[in-house]
Symmetry: C2
Subunit: 392 residues, 2 copies
């Protein structure tokens, strides 16, 4: 069901032919209303893909009717031609929806692309435009299309990622996500579409989305690389006309974002260990995030975890690169429950640490009460293999 | 010859037994004068090893008689005991030099350690202290000891690194370096000792050293990880009493630092390609460094180079994460002479790019006249292997 779990949404996904693998690669999510409120967050990379440049403008008024998404090409750094392709995609989709009975402007259509940077030429354009009529037709009245839509945005993902949550007054939130590599802050390389039938105004949508992504997707940092195409979109149809508790809605949305984030995490390219790095005793949440993130970006630490080596020295060395508040002689490090480092010195025997897929690293700065977790993956031969052979 | 190429220096290196490999691991460089001026730069990591904490204080007055260096243990995060070991090492060395006829205080002895973090217990201390008498004896009058000293600081280095330069008035600069992994800014994990018999005052030594390291060691960034033990020491004996051209001295020192840096670069752990990332057309040298460094830290870019994939999209994506001045639609990328990206779009066919050990990446921001190069390595299976199995 994913994005079609809430009332007021239809969706479709089909094989357009963008991906050499021959699997689904073109996706559509339509908000049939009555409301068409939207909130969105985009990559903070300054070199943004054409669909991001387009969608940022199109979503600025807080309204959107539909999202068209493709895998098999990022349409990034493809120049004016690439930007025109995005515009034509939005226009053609709007025309098709209008023909089908829902008056729609190009500016009501958001566009997302994922795949290789630099891919977005004539074939790419033609393949998308030619397949929009069957895509729009397939989405009509199709609640079952939510599954296909989630499948059609997969790239190196091994499984489609979806999640749903229900509010106590009966409304639903549904979501789909893709992303397996290049996950980093300021958003992971991911496309996420979340839908809800809750009757909430656009200001709340926006506020709840930012609060949720900053504590979920923004804290997944598998390889420190920030994508050019990251987009998280939240649309509300308002089709379930019951009172909404604002706090509950925000809390459920954050839960759903964390759920999707963990699905991205465990499917990260080439990972053998799913690592959670929690910094506690920090002077502020921001400093806790800074410290956890710095450790999540240490190639040496990540390689050590691959080798199941509880090399706490590489953790403390990363802490030392941050500007957080701490006493360099008072840092504790606990790996999978074993306190291998106390007061910045050896403590429990590292031989006691046992490893499985999940690795928990806790850093205590003894500088305050704030805590935050950043999730990352280990650095493995498979990561090197996947990312050295991806485009060739 | 290395550090003993200039007049006024003796050195030694021997097998103390710190390294399981049974190779040389304890090293001494003595400045026999007449001058004992010293300048030094240390890691900017806030979690510093004990020898760094000691040497920073000891070198603060600009004078030093000798440097004791060990491999086989970093004496980092080893608590009060570890700090006492460093103090005892300096005191014992000073006593031995005094007995041999050169009145020396502990504060005249700098100490450097390299190896695993957390190693620095009783055995480590005893092994060093017990071997100082033969080490000091071996250094006496020993110009040949320069070679042994360079060998005794090796860890995962496959070769000893040394270099010399001669000034037009006849003075000499000599140096030795170690470092093969964990190379990063704010210094690579490296120990470097440079000596000169040039008659230069301490202020010039300090100024020339900072100017040289900022353009050499600080721009080698093989894996983004900043060490806890990095130290570069420059000592002057003033034993060659001829006029020194200040500009020439600074220039030769920078050349020697670049020479040693390149030796570290080509010996980086697990590297298959030695990558030079030059950013040109930048608004300032600092922005050029920022852009080159951001690319040097992209795991995806480094994995692509390992796969000989001229994946320029991963270059532009990294440029987009910086705060440098540029137009996101005007970036050029040239890989090994082929302009694979012009104006942020595909240009020459990436198939034209050929690869050998050296890879040159040029990024043109078209935003000014400044240029800078950062050197890095590719991300390989061997890197993962070496760093996942290092301490176990």
């Amino acid at each position: 069901m994913s994005v079609t779990a809430p009332l007021g949404f239809t969706a479709a996904g089909l094989i357009a032919g963008l991906k050499p693998s021959g699997t689904k690669d073109l996706s559509l999510v339509v908000n049939t209303g009555p409301d068409t409120a939207v909130a969105a967050v985009y990559t903070s990379n300054r070199c943004k893909a054409n669909p991001v440049l387009w969608s940022q403008k199109a979503s600025a008024n807080g309204q959107a009717r539909a999202v068209v998404l493709n895998s098999g090409g990022a349409n990034c750094y493809t120049g004016d031609f690439g930007h025109e392709t995005t515009t034509l995609t939005a226009q053609a989709t709007a025309d098709l929806l209008t023909e089908a009975g829902t008056a729609t402007q190009a500016e009501d259509i958001l566009v997302c692309s994922t795949g290789l940077i630099g891919v977005g030429g004539q074939d790419f354009r033609d393949t998308i435009i030619d397949n929009l009529p069957p895509l729009v037709a397939a989405a009509e009245d199709s609640v079952a299309g939510g599954k296909h839509a989630a499948e059609a945005i997969m790239t190196t993902d091994t499984v489609a990622k979806t999640a749903t949550r229900e509010g106590s007054s009966g409304y639903t939130i549904g979501g789909m996500a893709k992303g397996a590599g290049m996950l980093a802050p300021g958003l992971a390389t991911m496309l996420v579409v979340i839908t809800t039938d809750a009757k909430v105004d656009q200001a709340l949508l926006d506020q709840a989305l930012r609060a949720s992504t900053s504590q979920s997707f923004d804290r997944l940092d598998t390889d420190g690389c920030m994508s050019t195409n990251d987009t998280v979109i939240l649309m509300s149809s308002g089709a379930h006309d019951a009172a909404v508790d604002t706090d509950e809605f925000t809390s459920l949305l954050r839960e759903l974002c964390l759920d999707l984030m963990h699905q991205l995490h465990v499917d990260a390219e080439g990972a053998h260990h799913d690592i959670a790095i929690t910094t506690q005793g920090a002077a502020s949440e921001a400093e806790a995030v800074e410290v956890s993130r710095s450790v999540s970006r240490s190639a040496l630490f990540k390689a050590a975890i691959f080798g199941q080596d509880p090399n706490w020295g590489r953790v403390v060395a990363q802490v030392g690169t941050t500007s957080a508040t701490f006493d360099p002689t008072a840092i504790d490090v606990i790996i999978n429950g074993t306190e291998v480092c106390r007061a910045s010195g050896p403590y429990e025997d590292p031989e006691k640490v046992t490893f499985d897929r999940n690795v928990d690293v806790v850093i205590d700065l003894h500088a305050g009460d704030a805590t935050a977790t950043v999730w990352t993956s280990d650095l493995t031969h498979d990561y090197v293999e996947e990312n050295s052979a991806y485009s060739t």
